[in-house]
């Protein structure tokens, strides 16, 4: 635990130093920014999909609400100090509206319902033109300085991963783990399972709401098919699975791999990145469902055969 904290502190210090050491490496800073943003989003998804085992295919809805809320408020001259927290809370409020009915469903039925919710939300954004600008979306005029964006995304990532690490070791974390492994048994041991799931979804949605703000201010453009798109929801599922579902650092590792594949392959040949993700996903599900961290754990065991250890990414 202390070693993990020390490692995290060194990593954060190094990432803070990067823009000062290499102020003109704009491409590198841009890639790091994307990794931070996707890492925070994947970590947020993992609170619900990994920790609590409630796999959602509709999480883009929360990102989209955060992005649109910030875009609309910024267009109306509202300060970021107000618009960013309000975006988080709007996404959180939306999670309660959909979570309370959706959590009456279990397992695959919940997952299917989230596809419907995500798509319905996208269609609302497309058709509520007076508020959202419809299909053509909303455009913002000026972005905050890249340095500020970089640190905002880093802060969001650190907050998200820190929250995940804290939850995992807490009473709440035990509730989510119990829900994931056997919801009925958890219920008979006193765990208010629906409340626990709803709380996890709320926290997850709030983080995605802030991620939406950061997204809108970076790209200066939000449209229904980008922020509310099904492919965004799928990306949020893929990253934690690649890295290690239900672990603290897995989603971040997944975000690094995801961002590199997308940056490298999408630039060379259209849609090759999708093929790569498909192959990667199948390989992981077939060979090592615990993802990259599971592979790392296997290597550790091969080196040190007698030790009986439990992975605790």
């Amino acid at each position: 635990m202390a070693r993990n904290a020390a490692f995290a502190a060194i990593a954060i210090a190094a990432l803070i130093a990067v823009p000062f050491v290499a102020p003109h490496a704009e491409y590198a800073l841009d890639v790091l920014f994307l990794i931070f943003l996707y890492g925070a989003m994947a970590t947020a998804w993992n609170l619900v999909g990994g920790f609590a085992g409630q796999v959602s295919f509709g999480h883009a809805a929360f990102l989209g609400i955060g992005a649109y809320a910030t875009a609309i408020m910024t267009q109306n001259g509202i300060s970021l100090w107000i618009s960013v927290p309000v975006s988080a809370l709007l996404a959180g409020a939306y999670s309660l509206v959909i979570g309370i009915p959706a959590f009456r469903l279990r397992g695959p039925y919940f997952s299917i319902a989230t596809i419907g919710i995500g798509e319905a939300t996208r269609l609302i954004a497309r058709n509520w033109s007076s508020l959202t600008g419809g299909v053509s979306g909303l455009t913002l005029s000026s972005a905050p300085p890249l340095l500020l964006q970089y640190f905002a995304a880093l802060a969001l990532l650190v907050a998200a991963v820190g929250l995940a690490a804290w939850i995992r070791a807490s009473r709440f974390g035990y509730a989510l783990a119990a829900v994931r492994q056997d919801t009925d048994a958890a219920e008979t041991l006193g765990v208010a399972t629906t409340v626990a799931k709803t709380q996890a979804l709320f926290l997850s949605a709030c983080i995605l709401g802030v991620a939406g703000s950061v997204y809108a201010l970076h790209y200066l453009f939000v449209s229904p098919d980008s922020v509310f798109g099904f492919s965004t929801s799928i990306a949020l599922v893929i990253m934690p699975i690649i890295g290690g579902l239900g672990t603290v650092t897995g989603p971040l590792i997944g975000a690094v791999i995801y961002t590199f594949i997308r940056e490298q392959l999408a630039a060379t040949l259209a849609n090759v990145d999708l093929l790569a993700f498909g192959v990667l996903l199948i390989a992981i599900v077939v060979f090592e469902p615990r993802g990259i961290l599971g592979i790392a754990d296997r290597i550790r065991r091969m080196r040190k055969p007698p030790a009986v250890t439990v992975p605790d990414g």
Partner: protein
């Protein structure tokens, strides 16, 4: 029985056309070990589910400590003080033995234990009682069937129940494990926990229970002193499969 700790009145559960539990009245006395027996499909486990809040009864009421608990959620009822073990064991498979028990300590226990250390200490106490302390750090899935059954009991005990419903904790155990588990049941009863146990092992029931309730086809047919009940001709015929309507 002047002041039962747990009481069901007219409990009924229908699944479509099937009546699994049919108007059962049952009263559990403070501090007793009550056996609940009957042939397969008699509705014993369903009755437990109705009492513990896992299922809502179609009709009837459940009262615990004089207060109605009918229709309350399973976690509420657990926190109030009625714990249940599962006939088919349901460990949290990715957790260690002690972590499984910590879930009960964290959530079923009032006042709440202080942090992870508090929950862990409470869990270790129950593992000690259940003879699993030396397996505390093992993965739950590595236990034998006997170990799993004791883990079910340890988890339920960690919620500090006033009434413990044991659903076939002896099924599948060898004679040594059976004796060990029966000793555990007596120990728990001496701590002041009231016990209701569904059991097919009639010798064990006779050895440990102070009273027996017999269910057949969803109805209560006899209750009372173990020796009297087990020699009752209606019970004998129900078990031997001859006409049950003597």
């Amino acid at each position: 029985m002047a002041d039962p700790i747990l009481e069901g009145r007219g409990l009924t559960k229908r699944f479509g056309g099937l009546i699994a539990v049919d108007g059962v009245d049952i009263a559990i006395e403070r501090g007793e070990i009550c056996g609940l027996i009957g042939p397969n499909g008699a509705g014993k486990s369903t009755l437990f589910r109705l009492i513990s809040g896992v299922m809502r009864p179609t009709a009837g009421t459940v009262t615990f400590n004089g207060r109605p608990i009918t229709g309350r959620s399973a976690h509420d009822i657990c926190v109030a003080g009625v714990a249940v073990t599962h006939q088919i064991v349901r460990p949290f498979r990715d957790m260690s033995v002690v972590e499984n028990v910590m879930v009960g300590a964290f959530f079923g226990h009032r006042p709440r234990p202080r942090g992870r250390g508090g929950a862990r200490a409470a869990a270790m106490e129950e593992l000690e009682v259940c003879g699993l302390a030396d397996r505390a750090e093992s993965p739950a899935r590595s236990l034998t069937l006997g170990g799993h059954k004791r883990l079910e009991i340890a988890r339920a005990l960690a919620t500090r129940p006033k009434v413990l419903l044991l659903d076939e904790v002896l099924a599948g155990l060898n004679p040594t494990e059976t004796d060990r588990t029966l000793d555990l049941v007596r120990t728990v009863r001496e701590r002041g926990t009231t016990i209701v146990m569904v059991e097919h092992n009639l010798r064990a029931v006779r050895g440990v229970c102070s009273r027996i309730v017999v269910l057949v086809e969803g109805r209560k047919i006899v209750e009372g002193d173990p020796d009297a009940v087990l020699t009752d001709e209606r019970v004998v015929s129900a078990y031997l499969g001859t006409a049950a309507h003597a």
